[in-house]
């Protein structure tokens, strides 16, 4: 498969009490054509900020500090504002976590999709509207004609997210960034929408960067997985590797605390302590404050990436030194719901 997007050493900083804190710190990962990469982590770990950095939509006062984001070999961070505008919504689309507020409340749904189409293709309003109707059918919106004319508040959360998806797909992007696309929705709707996304990916042949904290969803959808903790990607690899033979103590803890993997009747194991806030991030490995294997070196030195195989990498001194616990995690296939 060919490489679509490669992110190298991406660092995004936010000023916090006078210090510039790297909310995204030296992130490196890649997405191939047609692939679904899941970016996993607890809330506040920098997953959304990674996505916004790729789109160059980091909210102020944050700033992309360094790194490269290459789409088919072209560095997006070096593009002019106008060139970047053509990429956004054209070649990379994004859908957000909050379908309730992500649509403009005073514009009809159809008009919002039409606007997206006409920003990138020179088509008449009528043609754009026709295409919009097709998209609505494609993403599974019942009664599309009425929904074209509806205002967002007249639709349910699930329908709104479908409108968002239709808008994101309207220009046949090469990459879709889905930032917790189903978190705000009912569980039954979640499954429908995720299945739809997979189908659409096959039809259009696009790649997806799926941001989520739900390992169940990852297990069902992802080809590859990257795990983020406190601004850094600490482990990445094929889904079966990461979920089945996790290397990093954090990933292992995360997997153990999943109800589906736990032994019935036993107390759910948890990772001790809490995620440190960005102002309190430790110098060395950021997980050192909660890690049972942490030694002096972990607290001092930032761990480099250790490759277990070509496609499975973890950043952990314990893994590097071979004193990590045996790869943990259940049979991922069996864990699927």
């Amino acid at each position: 498969m060919s490489r679509l997007l490669s992110v190298e050493g991406l660092t995004t900083r936010f000023p916090l009490a006078g210090v510039h804190v790297p909310i995204v710190d030296e992130s490196t990962f890649a997405i191939d054509r047609g692939e679904v990469l899941a970016l996993v982590g607890e809330s506040g770990c920098g997953k959304s900020m990674t996505a916004l950095s790729i789109m160059r939509l980091v909210p102020k006062p944050g700033r992309i500090h360094s790194g490269r984001v290459e789409l088919l070999g072209r560095d997006l961070l070096g593009l002019s504002v106008t060139e970047m505008r053509a990429v956004r919504g054209g070649r990379i689309s994004m859908i957000f976590q909050e379908p309730m507020t992500s649509l403009n409340p005073v514009m009809r749904c159809g008009d919002q999709v039409v606007e997206a189409i006409r920003l990138h293709d020179e088509v008449s309003r009528k043609d754009a509207l026709a295409r919009c109707r097709e998209l609505f059918v494609q993403v599974g919106i019942p009664d599309p004609d009425a929904r074209l004319r509806a205002y967002p508040h007249q639709l349910s959360g699930g329908l709104k997210q479908r409108v968002m998806i239709a808008m994101a797909l309207s220009t046949r992007p090469e990459l879709l960034i889905a930032d917790e696309p189903t978190t705000a929705l009912d569980v039954t709707i979640q499954a429908q929408i995720l299945r739809q996304l997979l189908e659409l990916r096959r039809e259009i042949g696009m790649s997806i960067l799926l941001i989520t904290h739900d390992l169940g969803i990852v297990n069902e959808l992802a080809d590859r997985v990257a795990v983020m903790y406190a601004g850094r990607i600490i482990e990445q690899g094929e889904r079966t590797d990461v979920l089945g033979r996790a290397l990093h103590p954090y990933t292992q803890g995360l997997l153990r605390s999943m109800p589906a993997l736990a032994t019935p009747g036993r107390r759910l194991p948890e990772i001790p302590g809490v995620v440190p806030s960005p102002a309190e991030w430790p110098m060395g490995c950021r997980f050192a404050t909660r890690c049972q294997l942490a030694e002096d070196r972990c607290r001092r030195e930032v761990p480099g990436a250790t490759a277990r195989s070509d496609n499975h990498v973890a950043s952990c001194h314990a893994v590097e030194e071979g004193r990590a616990q045996a790869p943990a995690g259940g049979e991922p296939e069996g864990a699927a719901r």
């Binding site: 789109m55 939509l57 909210p59 102020k60 006062p61 106008t82 505008r85 053509a86 990429v87 956004r88 919504g89 054209g90 689309s93 994004m94 957000f96 909050e98 507020t101 992500s102 649509l103 403009n104 409340p105 005073v106 514009m107 606007e115 997206a116 920003l119 990138h120 205002y151 508040h153 968002m164 808008m167 994101a168």
Partner: protein
Amino acid sequence: MLAYVIRRMAYGVIVVLGVLFFLFLLFFTVTSPDDVARKALGERVPEAVVEQWKVNHGYDKPLFPEPGAWTDNMLVEHYRRMLTFDFGRSDADDTPIADRLRAGVGPSLALTVPLFTFSLLASIPLALLVALFRDTYIDRMGVVLCVLAMSVSILLYIIGAQYLIGRLLHWFPISGFDADPRVVVRFLALPLLVGLVAGIGGDVRFYRTVFIEESNTDFVRTARAKGCGEARIMGRHVLRNSLIPILTQVVLAIPFLFTGSLLLESFFGIPGLGAITVDAINGNDFSVLRTMVYIGSLLFVGGQILTDLSYGLVDPRVRLE
């Protein structure tokens, strides 16, 4: 919709009745008709003259309903007169108040309507511009300028403009009014300029806050993610949504166009309702003052109903029920 309007108007009527009661307390109990009479006639007139004055002005009844005067008292009389728009005569010079109001509306509107229009036309684009450049030095400069402009007393603006433009530069006459539209433009230029400058700081700052608040919303992020440019986002997505809070301010201001501007009118010699009010203050003319407050609140209540109705027009989420 109709039910909503009726309910809304009913509440408006209750508020107006409340205002009238408050006015009664102020003008008949805090200051009694005797006080008013003495202010009009002088402190040392004999009791009989005061009584006669009260009879002439219809202030000679008992204040509150009491045995024998359940309907024939000042409270009932006050409500009856105000609700039937029978404002009676001025306490100070006996002219019919209604005539004065009719004469004053025209000049007031001649000043306030252009002032209102120009203010909107100037401040909203300026605020959009400042908001477009948010977090840059243009924005910071803009806010500082607004605060500077807001911190100057309107008295200083008026006196300064009259002195500088009227007296030193002789561009426009310092004060006066004329019924001829071609002449009146020259008279209105200075008060318009002053009103515009005095108000623009606060307006721009308010609209800027609204715009910036709207441009931090999720749907603006969506618009950016689909490739909208900043100018298009401001013009299409932010402006439409900002109209909702802005409307409250703007529609509410419309009724007060009728009551004119106290300071501008009296400083620049425009014989509008504002100037009439100032005359009433200087001449202890309580009945005129009372009427002006009443009319002001009538207009305000009407404006509020209008605002609520106009929400339904701009915001598809609002359904008037």
